[in-house]
Symmetry: C2
């Protein structure tokens, strides 16, 4: 059987490989900037990154690409090649929607605003960031309009689509309304219960960084991370970067304790396992990329919240931590560790939030960024709106803007439309973990003995290997039997925090 | 006064900035590959490097570039802009001389041959590397012919020109003949003198790597290395990489001693200081690049051999080493350290050679690579020719090919025409250091107190800041008053090893 010739598709696949190599190079350079680069290298690096960004943009928007896409769409494609063409068309549509002058202006404004934000947050002085942020909002509005027109979406959906292809704003409205109704009563009930039960005991140190690093590497290996294809390093802000065959996780260790350092590593390892699990045979093609931020965050949260905060795994971790730090006594008992890792608070800070209040932080940000985009909220009025939202949703008022509207980099860095993916990811994580356990009921017990192979054996075909071959919704429904909803997540919270 | 318009030159300067950013990115990715990358990342990295290499080559050989160069050559340029255009023309001539199919074939053959060489060296079995090397020689011959025709040079000169622009083969013949006549008697005399004087005492350890690293960083800072614009890391094979604003030095430490580790760092720091000293206002332009490998090596050897093997500096180093390792006694005395660092041997290995025999190793390699290129020497006959040359030049016969013709990566990696630059660099180093001291006689004493500012104050304007604004010869003559010769080098050897 001889295949029909597909010259346009072949040309686009060659272009995609080139584009992917340039983007991979950018990924490694970005990792280096955050992990290795001396401060004085910043200007040269910015020039390198900007140049590669322009080259990638030019590759994707060259006049011939449109013709090739049209020709390829008339070629006899099936399976992954058809999906690949659809993804490339999507990327092309995003890239060509916005004039390069606007892309450049946004890039300059983001760099300026990020710098201003760092100073503003350090001084807890919103006035230092206000004008740069206003410029970001103005340019984002232009970008959103341009993309909305090109993609046939409303402006906020066009922004969301950059991070979560096909993400639906009406569904976010519905799911977030359900969470906003359901979470505060759960939160109150858990706080009451915690008050009755008293505080867990914190293990006491010392917790030398060298031992924490060794423990983190051991846990990463347990989860399935392959150090022949990745690294662990230390940065102020943990992240997962690199490329699928060379995934680079970072974390932060504090001499004061191992609790958040280890769990941060687990979160990023969840991201890393997704990247590593993407199908080798689709490397360099858009269809082989991670689907979007919802499934990406689902993989980190599935590891962090579902698998590794389970009593079974925390018992395993307790044993490992005792050995690593020579700990002993009540503070190191599995049940005490479980209580520490499921502690719920009324906090100001999203990145420190427990899994019950985290969605409330996201709901606030989503609401505010939509209001900023539409113009319903003036940039000058952001701090007041933020604090008012925190009072309503969480019952606390931030004492200053550093712990309020200056805490997250996203908006100041030009990322508007990103926040909802955190909570959609948390919902997907609960749903996927539930489906994995339903399919293989031995998973929870296996986690207790440090065996993640059963869990990975389910995630690989059901999530990782699907890559971008279908929509997030289709992948999720095929894997779990249901569309994305709040049911599994809320049931999980009640089971973990209120039952038993 | 308004400048005449220079549109073609302006366009070429914009192109050069883009090219420089792509090459800078390649430099950082290459550093990462050797220092940070997990083994499993190799294929993805090779794809990134190859893609950026092709993009850089396309930028330089695009059909419009030739027209722009011709137009620019008719524009009213003076000073650095004229030099810059000349350098870009030179790069363009090299890039367009060779068809891209040959560049690709060479790149594939080098990768294959390098891998074969690693196995061959480990097994000390030349037969494993012979055929891949024959393919390298064949392709290099094609490259040399193509470049010779395009550049109006003879084939070996065309290869040399890649590493040392404007390098003259007849002059290499003359200088190497002088060295080949002068060095063996000096070598013999020093060996006799050493036999009379007895061996120096080796300091005894322990020499923990952490202390060696701290000492190395201290010495680098003493030399003028700025850690805000660079790093020190550890690799099996020391090198200096990165970009001028972010220079990355690597070295290797052995627990068995600090002697070679520290001096290796000093050598690479010499390279790094040259890169850092290139003029900021020419960044991203060919005129702002380091001139060539002769001046580059002159800067590493000036630091390693001229400045830091001086009795004054070794006394300074002796004090620092004592503190770093808690050393005491005869072995740690300045004069003993001086005797260790000026020890001369009859060795097999180029990279371990002293400054007297090093040129003999280079003369052998230069002779052999020219014979391989012309076909006077068959690839199969290389080991025998190598061993015969070692007998003649150094009076020793390598016991195996690992310590013979398999010891250096260069040929197996496709670098033919590079070796002479090591020794031309050593001659230039002696000449430049002599001129620096003649200009500022306080330099040697300053080095003894760890003050390198006087030396750098001379090197910056006379070498570093010249960048590629003129030829190596012109820079050297302006700095030292003489063309490149053996006189300063031989006088230095006699002074250091035979006088006093």
């Amino acid at each position: 059987m001889s295949a029909m010739p597909t010259p346009a598709t072949d040309a686009l696949e060659a272009l995609s490989r080139r584009l992917s190599a340039v983007e991979g190079a950018m990924g490694v350079l970005s990792w280096d900037r955050m992990v290795m680069m001396p401060t004085g290298g910043g200007d040269a690096r910015a020039e390198q990154a900007a140049t590669l960004g322009v080259i990638a943009h030019e590759l994707l928007t060259a006049p011939k690409i449109d013709d090739l896409l049209t020709a390829a769409e008339g070629e006899p494609l099936t399976g992954w090649r058809a999906a690949n063409l659809r993804e490339l068309r999507r990327r092309h549509a995003h890239a060509t929607a916005v004039p390069s002058s606007l892309v450049e202006a946004m890039s300059r404004a983001s760099a300026k605003s990020e710098t201003a934000w760092r100073a503003a947050r350090a001084a807890s002085d919103y006035s230092l960031a206000r004008e740069p942020l206003a410029e970001i909002v103005r340019l984002t509005r232009e970008t959103a309009s341009a993309k909305a027109a090109a993609l046939g979406l409303d402006p906020y959906a066009a922004l969301l689509d950059q991070y979560e292809p096909g993400g639906s704003v009406p569904r976010i409205d519905r799911l977030f309304a359900e969470l906003e109704a359901a979470l505060p009563p759960i939160h109150e009930a858990v706080l009451e219960r915690q008050a009755r039960d008293g505080d867990p005991v914190m293990p006491s140190g010392p917790f030398p960084v060298a031992q924490q690093r060794a423990l983190a590497r051991e846990i990463m290996t347990t989860l399935g991370f392959d150090f022949d294809h990745g690294r662990l390093d230390e940065t102020l802000h943990p992240f997962c970067g690199g490329v699928p065959d060379d995934v680079r996780v970072t974390t932060r260790f504090s001499e004061n304790g191992f609790v958040s350092g280890v769990m941060g590593v687990i979160h990023e390892t969840g991201h890393a396992l997704y990247e590593r699990g993407l199908p080798v045979e689709w490397r360099g093609q858009p269809v082989g990329d991670a689907r979007g931020m919802v499934l990406h965050e689902s993989q980190s949260l599935l590891m962090e919240m579902q698998a590794c905060r389970s009593p079974a795994f925390l018992a395993h971790l307790s044993g490992k931590a005792k050995v690593a730090f020579g700990g002993d006594g009540a503070a190191w008992q599995p049940d005490n560790l479980r209580r520490i890792y499921t502690r719920v608070e009324r906090g100001f800070i999203r990145v420190e939030a427990d899994e019950i209040t985290y969605p409330l932080h996201v709901i606030l940000r989503t609401r505010l960024e939509r209001a900023l985009l539409s113009g319903d909220l003036a940039v000058a009025d952001l701090p007041a709106a933020w604090n008012e939202g925190m009072r309503t949703l969480l019952g606390v008022t931030p004492p200053d803007d550093a712990r309020g509207c200056l805490q997250d980099i996203h908006w100041y860095d030009g990322a508007i439309g990103y926040f909802p993916t955190y909570t959609l990811g948390a919902l997907a994580a609960a749903q996927l973990f539930g489906a994995a356990v339903a399919s293989d009921p031995a998973i929870p017990e296996a986690l207790g003995s440090g065996d993640f192979t059963r869990l990975l054996a389910w995630l690989r075909p059901n999530v990782h290997q699907r890559a971008s071959s279908d929509s997030t919704d289709a992948i999720l429904e095929a894997a779990t039997g249901s569309p994305l909803g709040t049911e599994a997540f809320l049931a999980h919270l009640k089971r973990r925090y209120l039952d038993g």
